[in-house]
């Protein structure tokens, strides 16, 4: 039901919005939503922080870019390769990384993200170095190129819808409960029979694959990528989206992604203040509403409602 409404909204948006600039903006929101959604599974649900997810975003984008530009592959051939490669890399990274906790995990993932960025810049023969890769072909279905903004909009939001369904199903299942159990108390989760290390690795891979998919869509949309789109600040932006939207809130990812995409558009001076705003948002939300904005507000609402109900139940 929820998803029918959601699909309906996407359809209406795609039909009504004709301005190509607005369509592009909406498409960007979709891509960022995918990023936030994936990271939220790891951070919001399982409680494992990652400050290096931009590297997976970049890995997805660069894999498809290199394969299509240098080797002339069809994008649809490079998609599974990009996802699979990211899955493998993230698996190898996660195995030792997720033995770390708290601060160490933060530093470890931060270091990993930096290595990714340095490789994108430094491995110039393949990645084009600082100047990046140009001429990434747009996606096409059969002989029809998805050059129209509307078509791409639908493609991206189709992926987002699938992403939502996947995450919602996981969250409502035995696995989702296990993730939240790990978040609340890793020790108790283990004592309840939850194989914490394995599930943490799995959810890390899942979130990396989401990022890679977003990277793939991003690369074929803008047709040009450079390392600066995958630096530390991008990882921080992803974390900010999750924090704004709410840890452990699937729909909050959509809100977080929308806000952080639209804010710079609305406030043109915002560019200069971008970092300050992210920093402040992260600090303020974490200090006062550690569950995130949506979740925190919802909790506050629930609490006041139940207080109201109690007052009326026992006068």
């Amino acid at each position: 039901m929820k998803f029918l409404l959601f699909a309906g909204a996407i359809l209406v948006g795609g039909v009504l919005v004709k301005n190509p600039y607005h369509l592009q903006l909406l498409t960007f929101i979709g891509i960022y939503t995918l990023l936030a959604l994936g990271l939220n599974m790891l951070m919001g649900y399982a409680g494992q922080i990652s400050l290096g997810h931009a590297a997976f975003f970049g890995l997805g984008a660069y894999t498809t870019a290199v394969l299509t530009v240098h080797y002339g592959w069809s994008p649809w051939m490079s998609l599974p390769v990009a996802l699979l490669l990211t899955a493998c890399v993230s698996f190898l990274v996660a195995l030792p990384m997720l033995k770390l906790h708290g601060f160490y995990l933060g530093m470890g993932t931060l270091g990993f993200g930096m290595i990714g960025y340095i490789l994108f810049r430094g491995w110039a023969r393949v990645t084009g170095g600082d100047s990046g890769l140009v001429g990434i072909p747009p996606l096409s279905v059969g002989s029809m190129e998805l050059t129209s903004k509307t078509a791409y909009y639908f493609l991206v939001w189709f992926c987002v819808t699938v992403g939502f369904i996947v995450c919602e199903r996981i969250v409502g299942s035995r696995m989702g409960r296990a993730l939240r159990a790990i978040h609340d108390s890793e020790q108790a989760a283990g004592a309840m029979g939850v194989d914490t290390s394995r599930i943490k690795v799995n959810v890390f891979v899942l979130s990396a694959v989401f990022s890679a998919l977003a990277g793939f869509l991003y690369a074929h949309m803008v047709t040009f990528i450079s390392p600066s789109s995958f630096d530390f600040l991008v990882s921080v932006r992803m974390v900010t989206m999750v924090v704004i939207g709410g840890m452990a809130s699937i729909w909050g990812s959509l809100l977080g992604a929308s806000l952080l995409t639209l804010l710079p558009e609305w406030l043109h001076v915002f560019v200069d203040y971008e970092m300050m705003v992210y920093g402040l948002v992260l600090m303020v939300v974490m200090i006062f509403l550690p569950q995130g904005l949506t979740r925190g507000l919802m909790d506050a609402y629930e609490r006041s409602r139940s207080r109201y109900r109690n007052r009326h139940a026992n006068p």
């Binding site: 996947v166 199903r169 996981i170 409502g172 299942s173 035995r174 696995m175 989702g176 409960r177 296990a178 939240r180 159990a181 978040h183 609340d184 108390s185 020790q187 108790a188 989760a189 283990g190 004592a191 309840m192 029979g193 939850v194 194989d195 914490t196 799995n202 899942l206 452990a248």
Partner: protein, 264 residues
């Protein structure tokens, strides 16, 4: 019962601890501890603070690996296994300081307890096939039954952290029972409970034993321990001081000396 030895007709122990030692740095927390727990009994471990009770629990549940000795559960050595693997074999526990999953509802807590009895993985969850839905439905029914059993069915949907402390203890027991364990380890289940709740806890533990579940408990409340336990193991400074029925332990001179203190 299946736990009976075919030749002799004597019950086989469900848990055997053989010569387990564990030290942290220079501190010897457990020294050559051996004892047996018979199925469907309540076996208490008592002793002054620092006697090594919680260390013993952590060794049995796989949190610590003993430096020496064997822990045999149901005829199989389990020392050194990971906690989740031990839990999956049917050994569940509660914690001294109540470790509930705070972001989850009461019912969901019990459902996590059922984790090792369910099979649905990531792919199963994404596919949501009929068997997954059936499994989920059954798990919920079973969890509700358990909440009824401990008397918390009214608050199944509430956040677990909103419960009064005493109820949280009962919830932890229900959660541990979610996995249909054969052996449950309860770490000071009565601490923080008022006398009425303690009384209820005692009745509940007896009911759990009557379901055929073996209980190993650490407890400071002597009237509760003496009242419900079938056997009692007394630890003192990491060593085994005495073992026997409540009556035997109560009249044991070494125990009295350790508890009342000869010197002080």
């Amino acid at each position: 019962m299946s736990d009976l030895d075919h030749d002799t007709g004597i019950a086989m122990p469900i848990l055997e601890v053989r010569g387990v030692s564990k030290s942290f740095g220079g501190l010897q927390a457990l020294f050559d501890i051996s004892f047996e727990v018979l199925p469907a009994t309540i076996h208490a471990v008592i002793g002054p603070n620092g006697a090594g009770k919680t260390t013993l629990f952590n060794a049995v549940t796989g949190v610590y690996v003993p430096d020496a000795g064997e822990i045999v559960y149901d005829g199989e050595a389990i020392q050194g296994r990971k906690p989740h693997a031990i839990a999956a074999k049917g050994i569940m526990r509660t914690f001294q300081n109540v470790e509930l999953f705070g972001s989850m509802s009461v019912l969901e807590n019990v459902l996590v307890g059922r984790h090792s009895r369910m099979r649905c993985g990531f792919w199963g969850a994404i596919g949501r096939l009929p068997w997954v839905r059936r499994e989920e439905r059954e798990a919920r029914d079973r969890a509700m039954e358990l909440l009824q059993f401990v008397g918390l069915e009214q608050v199944a949907g509430q956040p677990s952290t909103d419960l009064p402390f005493g109820w949280q203890r009962f919830l932890e027991i229900a959660r541990a029972m979610g996995a249909e364990p054969r052996l449950m380890l309860l770490d000071e289940p009565a601490s923080g409970l008022n006398p009425v709740e303690t009384q209820r806890l005692g009745d509940l533990l007896l009911k759990i034993r009557d379901r055929g579940i073996t209980l190993l408990l650490v407890e400071h409340d002597m009237s509760l321990t003496m009242g419900i336990s079938d056997r009692i193991l007394v630890l003192h400074q990491g060593r085994r001081l005495a073992e026997g029925t409540p009556r035997e332990v109560q009249s044991n001179e070494a125990v009295i000396a350790a508890y009342l203190g000869k010197e002080r």
